[in-house]
Symmetry: C2
Subunit: 315 residues, 2 copies
Amino acid sequence: MKEYTLSAEPTHSLWDRSLQPRLRIDPGDVVQVECADASGGQVKPGMTTAEYIRIDRKRIHALTGPIWIEGAEPGDVLQVDVLATLHSGWGWTSVVEGLGFLKERFRETYLFHWQLEGESTSSLAPAIVPVRPFLGVIGVARAGDGAFRTREPGSFGGNLDVRELCAGSTLYLPVYNRGALFSCGDGHAAQGDGEVCINGIECPLDATLRFRLHKHQPLAGPLVEASETAAPDSVADAWVVVETGTDLAATARAATGRMVDLLTSRWGFSEIHAYVLCSVALKLRLSQVVNEPVHTVSAALSKQILPEREMFPIR
Amino acid sequence: MKEYTLSAEPTHSLWDRSLQPRLRIDPGDVVQVECADASGGQVKPGMTTAEYIRIDRKRIHALTGPIWIEGAEPGDVLQVDVLATLHSGWGWTSVVEGLGFLKERFRETYLFHWQLEGESTSSLAPAIVPVRPFLGVIGVARAGDGAFRTREPGSFGGNLDVRELCAGSTLYLPVYNRGALFSCGDGHAAQGDGEVCINGIECPLDATLRFRLHKHQPLAGPLVEASETAAPDSVADAWVVVETGTDLAATARAATGRMVDLLTSRWGFSEIHAYVLCSVALKLRLSQVVNEPVHTVSAALSKQILPEREMFPIR
């Protein structure tokens, strides 16, 4: 097992499988990935709203990567263990004209700065928000040639905005290209379900990630093994299926269907019993509702409900 | 303060403000409300699927009530404190042809029986589901004359299926008629977000409820003050806004907007700060997605994020 550090610069802001890898690692290796904030360092402490309006939004999301994982091929599963995440004491949240879940009500651009003190905020009194930093964008290169904007997440991961991906959690992703070509960024010190105003607490973030590879394993889309130490207002200690789509009800339906599949394939429930179990114990959450035109729904089952299972055989 | 017991029979299965109250109480009184299961006692332990298909579905949901609260008038808020809930050791979950979130995949009617041992299930090994019983249907008579089926929830409460309404929680409802005319039923020993297969763990339930009245208070729809002792897979210790509508995204948007309103009116945040706070700390959950044509979305903020507030002045 080797350990690496990958600096934030130069960032990239498109998913493109033709990008040259900045680092090549073996399965089992650990990388401290230094990530700029989503703007690529354009937003700085003390910046005014007037200044914020003029940033180059095409640099969002400024990602660190790609990382090539030796031996990874289409049809494999990449396991990413989030070992640690570290913020730097400051973050920002903006409202952007024309974006956001309540864009008809909040029409003007606005920039807010957060002070972060360890595990909570101290700048929007009387509110105190628990801080458990995670990567909003985390994924592998998409199938298909060309360059894709990062706003839309998908089965490859990407702009998932799943707040359960804090330190201690694990993400499983399908591999679509040789080497997997992993990138990440868009650090969030905290984020609500839905990320309703368009941002979480955006921040530069150092994430320590361990990569593992599971050869020839079927996986329809992102699967999260949520940490026991998630924020008090997150889903902790759970299996979380993540689905993305344009219709919210259809996306929630797909997530529910994938959880039924997981219960049958991994725990041996009959299909009908898996469905019944989901009806009495599933958590269905709107992880993001602002990355138009797609929404992301998380379907979670507490690990306390189920016996422990190795989700994929460890290579 | 007086204490009453109201027996399950005779049940009623429609919301109708012309129904004669079965009990008249004063604000502050406590009622042990005995509720049949949603079927009104038609489903019994050991019943087969073949027998279940022949039950009279028009009796669903068999409710106990109405209870007249003296002094209640349109424009008031009824506070319902759930002091205790007691199941009887047995429950059922069905899949019903033509209903449910995955109705295209699960087309046949099926009946499952649960054994409940205190705070968990023991009949769908290896799964163990935590049990925190709550009333799936809880509400006041609707505005307007006529009889309404109970499937659709609304601003009056009704078939909310909000799993956070377990013992220790409080529900606030707008009053639409003199006396409020409260009814409840549809006991669930447990239920997942979404109630995806169409049922939770349906069970007879005795609920001990305390009623309070807040005169002339604006309230757009159900508001839940969730208990600290909610099930490990529920939202605990939180303020929960409950919204119902036909379009899932619009319903989630309305719930988010109501939380912004609550933060500004009760905690004094500016509107933009309330929006920012929701973006970094709100929980957005699909409470039910099967009571067609309407969905119910819950938007929750942990009490740990906010200083304590009396939501309404106590009369």
